[in-house]
């Protein structure tokens, strides 16, 4: 995912000058994909390209898109509650991403330090659905960017001279680290495609700390891409690229190995990581809880297509931007209040926040409580 300055985005996505104020205004609200922005005077560019490019105008984009997806699922949960059709008693949403959009990690709100090992092992479950009668839980993780091919097709590298910039990647360098990565790759591997470099830059940015670099699968043995990855990894290990990236990755996933063996993709690791963590949690619970396979919602894909017609996701989030969230029917909330296991779940997943939910000082709407 690239980060573009406003003027770059305007140029690259050919947004007419007359539309700039409207687009910036919507972006400043954190809702640049809102129908009002899409229909602003002069905006006649492809919606997908628009969404991809213009979302980057605002630093809150990642949070907004993430929340948008979570809210979509929460909204559906609420609708089902109204119909009396709901599989789960309670859904809990984690909102730490709002406080720390650059890392997607959870921090102690008071000390601003990472939580101890127990929490790190939990991974980042965005939504946890709980059945408090059957003792079942289901985690949903939204991935705002993964799998999203914003450019539609790779730009060819034919004819590009070594060291010559890329039309996309060369403008995407938002940090010194990314600049290092870019220069390293382009110097050594001028034949690398834009997509490959963009992907690497993405890893060097917001997704890097999730271990995505080390999730690289071997594509074609001996390919330039594999060399890029190997040498980049060596740079991280040698300190040429900040070591904390590597340390963070290892800490999150408990790995000590940095060889070139395949790790599978990051989603698989998150699945495994979360399952193992869950199993460690249920050991501490009174009841015999079981867990569904984690479900990953590839949200950016949901946001593709005609955004104005996808009412579930095109509308601004209707829920609070609070740091934590729980929703359930009154019955579900009552069950949570009396659950023997809620205290443990609360402690592990939400660091104590659910107590406030259950005690509920502020009832926002039927079946909804915010903390």
């Amino acid at each position: 995912m690239r980060s573009l300055e406003a003027d770059q985005a305007f140029r690259e996505f050919d947004i007419p000058e007359a539309a700039h104020p409207q687009v910036l205004q919507e972006a400043s609200k954190g809702r640049p994909w809102a129908p009002e922005a899409l229909s602003a005077p002069g905006v006649e560019i492809d919606e997908n390209v628009y969404a991809e490019g213009i979302l980057e105008l605002d630093p809150r984009e990642k949070q907004d898109r993430h929340d948008l997806l979570i809210d979509g699922r929460l909204e559906r949960f609420r609708r089902n509650l109204e119909k009396g059709k709901q599989r789960w008693d309670l859904v809990l949403a984690e909102r730490d991403f709002y406080s720390h959009p650059s890392t997607m990690e959870s921090y102690d709100e008071l000390s601003h330090e990472r939580q101890p090992e127990t929490h790190l092992k939990m991974g980042d479950g965005d939504l946890i659905f709980l059945d408090l009668d059957r003792y079942e839980a289901h985690m949903v993780e939204v991935k705002p960017h993964e799998g999203y091919d914003s450019r539609g097709s790779a730009q060819g590298t034919e004819g590009r001279e070594p060291g010559q910039g890329f039309s996309g990647a060369s403008q995407a360098l938002g940090s010194p680290e990314q600049q290092d990565i870019y220069e390293f790759v382009t110097d050594r591997y001028p034949q690398a495609s834009d997509d490959q470099i963009d992907t690497l830059l993405d890893w060097g940015d917001d997704e890097f700390d999730e271990g995505l670099l080390f999730s690289v699968v071997r594509e074609m043995p001996g390919s330039p891409w594999q060399q890029v990855v190997s040498e980049f990894r060596a740079m991280v290990e040698s300190g040429e690229i900040p070591q904390e990236y590597l340390d963070t990755s290892q800490e999150l996933y408990g790995r000590s190995e940095t060889s070139d063996s395949g790790y599978g993709n990051a989603v698989t690791k998150k699945t495994r990581n979360w399952r193992e963590a869950w199993e460690s949690v249920v050991d501490e619970l009174e009841q015999d809880w079981s867990v569904y396979e984690p479900e990953f919602v590839f949200g950016s894909e949901v946001l593709e297509g005609d955004l104005s017609e996808n009412t579930e996701y095109a509308l601004p989030p209707s829920y609070s931007q609070a740091e934590g969230y729980a929703m359930g029917a009154d019955e579900g909330l009552a069950k949570a209040a009396s659950s023997d296991d809620m205290e443990t779940l609360n402690e592990v997943f939400f660091r104590g926040g659910v107590d406030k939910v259950v005690d509920g000082e502020r009832l926002e709407m039927d079946g909804e409580r915010v903390f």
Binding site: K85, G262, R272, V291, V297, F298, G305
Partner: protein
């Protein structure tokens, strides 16, 4: 206490046990008083050790997916892809291809359908086992089908699946 696990019985491979586990989980969302009305899933092909995808076809295209839960009241569907080969370089890329076609397929329907796209990833290091639970057969699960009065949402469902599934149940 540990998380529930089921001992292995029969000749299920781990991927097949995983697929049946996922199917059972998604069945839990389907029923007259539950969020979804119908579940359609692809069968497991033991020969290739993979799921045979369902083809959702509209007038303007078609989309492969492994499992879909339909809410006919709200004209809403949740599509699931199960990634049994997460180590593959192509992992995740198939969904991108799928995404390109879904809006066209949905647009061809009588009602305005909303949808959600999700993925469940197989962990080859985890033992997925079945024991006291029999494997799931069939591709359509519709616990409320006998009481259902076909309407335009059902017509859309037939369009998507290319068949009148009530007549098959």
């Amino acid at each position: 206490m540990a998380a529930k696990t089921f001992p292995v019985e029969g000749d299920f491979s781990n991927p097949e046990a995983f697929w049946n586990t996922v199917t059972r989980q998604r069945m839990e969302e389907v029923g007259p008083e539950l969020p979804f009305d119908v579940m359609v899933r692809g069968g497991f092909d033991r020969g290739v050790q993979d799921v045979s995808s369902i083809l959702l076809g509209g007038e303007s295209g078609s989309v492969e997916t492994d499992l879909v839960n339909f809410d006919l009241d709200s004209c809403y569907m949740r599509l699931y892809d199960v990634d049994l080969r997460p180590e593959s370089p192509l992992s995740g890329e198939l969904s991108s291809l799928r995404m390109e076609r879904i809006p066209e397929v949905v647009r061809g329907l009588e009602n305005t359908w909303e949808y959600e796209l999700t993925e469940i990833v197989y962990d080859p290091d985890h033992d997925f086992t079945l024991g006291s639970v029999e494997p799931v057969d069939g591709t359509v699960y519709w616990p409320g089908s006998e009481e259902y009065e076909p309407d335009s949402a059902y017509s859309d469902l037939c369009t998507l699946l290319g068949e009148d599934i009530l007549s098959e149940l």
